[in-house]
Symmetry: C3
Subunit: 155 residues, 3 copies
């Protein structure tokens, strides 16, 4: 991890910035998709939100769980559990000064696998398509974590 400072100015760091931003934006998209289902199907979690569902005779009926809403929320939760570790470990990985081609391979594999994961979750595609997408993301992150630990290990 010597000369890390120069690494921040490098193409690897710019590549990380690009892919991290793309995959975070993909994760943020889950919020509006949840809202879309809530508003079109009139399904809410809070009593005050039912006002967004327009006039209705019985607002209490809008407080319920809906399969589509719950599916998007599970997808969002899985994103939080996987994309945030990628961003943290990917940032530290980019600072270890890896080869650009190997770093790009990691970033592209991860972002591609998570985009496919979202498609597989929301359509849904038959298993094990989603399970494999999840596994590719995990392995990519573990591989970067391995390099961080072997480069920067300081206990």
């Amino acid at each position: 991890m010597t000369e890390v400072v120069h690494m921040i100015d490098s193409e690897v760091f710019m590549a990380f910035s690009t892919y991290a931003t793309i995959v975070i934006l993909k994760m943020m998209l889950m919020g509006p998709i949840t809202s879309y289902h809530r508003l079109t199907k009139k399904v809410f979690s809070n009593m005050e939100d039912t006002a967004l569902g327009g006039p209705a005779e019985d607002r209490k009926k809008m407080i319920r769980a809906d399969p589509d809403v719950e599916r998007v929320r599970r997808c969002h939760q899985n994103d939080l559990e996987n994309i945030i570790p990628f961003v943290v470990i990917g940032l530290l990985y980019a600072l270890t000064g890896p080869d650009l081609s190997i770093a790009l391979l990691h970033f592209r594999l991860f972002v591609g696998s998570r985009c496919f994961h979202t498609v597989a979750y929301l359509l849904p595609l038959p298993q094990p398509s989603r399970a494999l997408a999840w596994m590719v993301g995990m392995v990519t992150t573990f591989s970067m974590a391995y390099r961080v630990l072997t480069t920067a290990l300081f206990l």
Copy 2:
């Protein structure tokens, strides 16, 4: 993204550090608020936690869902889904060397909107106050992501 190294030492990065820390502390506050409701109303998710509720004849009754606890938890979840993207994209944004005044506008708008979001969620305030606060936070983050992608794009 040239001369990024010098950016870390800048006022923009110090401003980011300050606002990111404040908004993360706000998010962490949701944990103790959840605990407060759990302990005062004796509502728990785990059997072993009921010991914290003091002596009781029927501990199984303490394992239940409570509207107040669930409301704080939804607010906490919304924070995770929105504040973490802000922190990640805000860090990369601060490294692109934006004007201090424009950066401060982004950071203040985001932190202000999320503080208002929490108040609107917990009181609660009538909609669309919370929806608007959420939207301001989203737009602020998207605006920073746009600058990161146009400055650092490397696919």
Copy 3:
């Protein structure tokens, strides 16, 4: 926060990279543990996932909540709510140039408390063991946030 640039190359930053990676890997481990319980007990949230449970007469029965699965998921959620703030504030803290010994104390206390928290949650150990582990992690993060704010305050 002057001369922050040189801090990235320092032993404190290497120590942060190491402990942040370890505690993120610990958090990621919750995913496979959830999958293990889902596959061995045949408990799923999505209809398409029941195909992973092998042939069965009634697949709808596999769509249910299981206490073991829910316990691991709550532990995972608590990790998200606590480990991510540590990583964000820890990164900014490492850039303020603290003494190595004091920084190591913070990082080790946090990572140790979260590993104990997971053990206390999954076994489970009687309370207040888990509550204390959670509190140690909170105090450690607050202590680092205090240094970040007193060093970098820029409102």
